[in-house]
Amino acid sequence: MALNRTDVENIAHLARIAINDEDIAATTAKLSGILELIDKMQAVDTQGIVPLAHPLETTQRLRDDLVTESNQREAFQAIAPATQEGLYLVPQVIE
């Protein structure tokens, strides 16, 4: 399926990815090419076929509800772009 500029802008917004205006045409062409490849699937009749999500079809393993992680806030925040008093800093979201 061929996408247009508006489609690509919508998809980029869903994916929270900024695209420069001058790159939209090339991105549209490449994404359309990929979707054309993918669309070969549509010719196959898969009625009655059960979707396969996990190759070994096992169920999610459960464990006892116990604390397994220790607090490593300092180690994790040491690699954060901006923190203050143990909090992650982002641009103001509440006026």
């Binding site: 994916a15 900024a18 070969k40 190759p55 040491a78 954060a80």
Partner: protein, 483 residues
Amino acid sequence: MHDKTLAALSQALQSKTISSVELTQHYLQRIEQFDQTLNSYITVTADLALEQAKAADARIAAGSATPLTGIPLAHKDLFCTQGVRTSCGSKMLDNFIAPYESTVTARFIEAGAVTLGKTNLDEFAMGSSTESSFYGPTRNPWDTERVPGGSSGGSAAAVAARLCAGATGTDTGGSIRQPAGFTALTGLKPTYGRVSRWGMIAYASSLDQGGPMARTAEDCAIMMQVMAGFDAKDSTSVDEPVSNYTAELNAPLKGLRIGLPKEYFASGLDAATADAIHAAVKQFQTLGAEIKEISLPNAELAIPAYYVIAPAEASSNLSRFDGVRFGYRCENPSDLTDLYKRSRGEGFGDEVKRRIMVGAYALSAGYYDAYYLQAQKIRRLIKNDFLAAYEQVDVILCPTSPTPPFKIGEKIDDPVSLYLTDIYTITANLAGVPGIALPAGFAQGLPLGMQLLGPYFSEARLLNIAHQYQQVTDWHHRAPAGY
């Protein structure tokens, strides 16, 4: 020293013919000498390696060594290594010092192996040529104008150029087997769930699987013994007993039934690769195997299905890179949405952005049934093809790629042409079955690869078959000129 296989180096270390410090220094010197050209490493951890080597020599002297104690290895730069940059080949993680150790690398450290460094890869493992790395392309030591394959191309080039004794890779759509084929190495993609994914930066979680890349099947068996096994920290890790991979290498192949999928030898396969595999078929017959033509009728649907499932999972997995908690953040964001969008727009490369967008589209309201659900149904058909084939044969033999290694830049502007190079490898990931790639010959000095695919948890048998082939051939002993 670097001429020796990992197995031979292990013996030399145990018998104290060489020390791990000497061996580590030798590889570090070779990296210095050759890697300016090859660009197989993103990060070289020389100080850490020498420290580990000293500890390994002490452990050998104390008599508590394992077969990997003192062996210098390299790890694909998507295994988190505590205190060492783990970049995933991306600007997004250029400043990311992993705060924890992946299960795979932790197991190697526990076994006493030495970490020489972190190897180059396609950004977030999305690619088949190692050209999409933020750190520039890796070159193939067999011909430096050509790609080493991908996404584990840095690991492949490093082992092939003898810049380490073995390396880890990961395989989501062929990323261990295709580069092994392009560099005349042996590489094993285990059954989904056999090797822990904990601490491996996720691309497509239902397909990703780590495995060894080395010169020989025996070397892979030694590495696999350490990598394989249950890990409670990985929710899809499989709790099955681990075989003794090295002990089973010498089993005879008499009566082995090998299937040749007719779809994989149809149009599009390079003639030299087809000839090499037919020659290998004769070798296997001499070793006592029986050959049978089989069919994997839905094979051609694997690429379309993969390019829905993998991007869909990627779009979900890569949502964590938001410029807030770690990794790249854009300058002067005007608001939170701008922070997200520009951090991701500037931090990810083009191919990663394409795949995230394809995934976001495939999962978006109104398209889910037509794309994601349809792809999962096709995934079932592909798995059923393998189950039917393994009723008739023990393993499947086929090429790893339709052509020998292509030139750097040749396919970079046409993503679809690059996707099609994975035609022979992707089916195994969708079905979750294991596969081993090994060298089958050369054409004009370029390596030709083949792979053996087996039923679930047949890693020991695959290593055994590859090892027996390598007892009667010498492709795996050839080194690229000048290395």
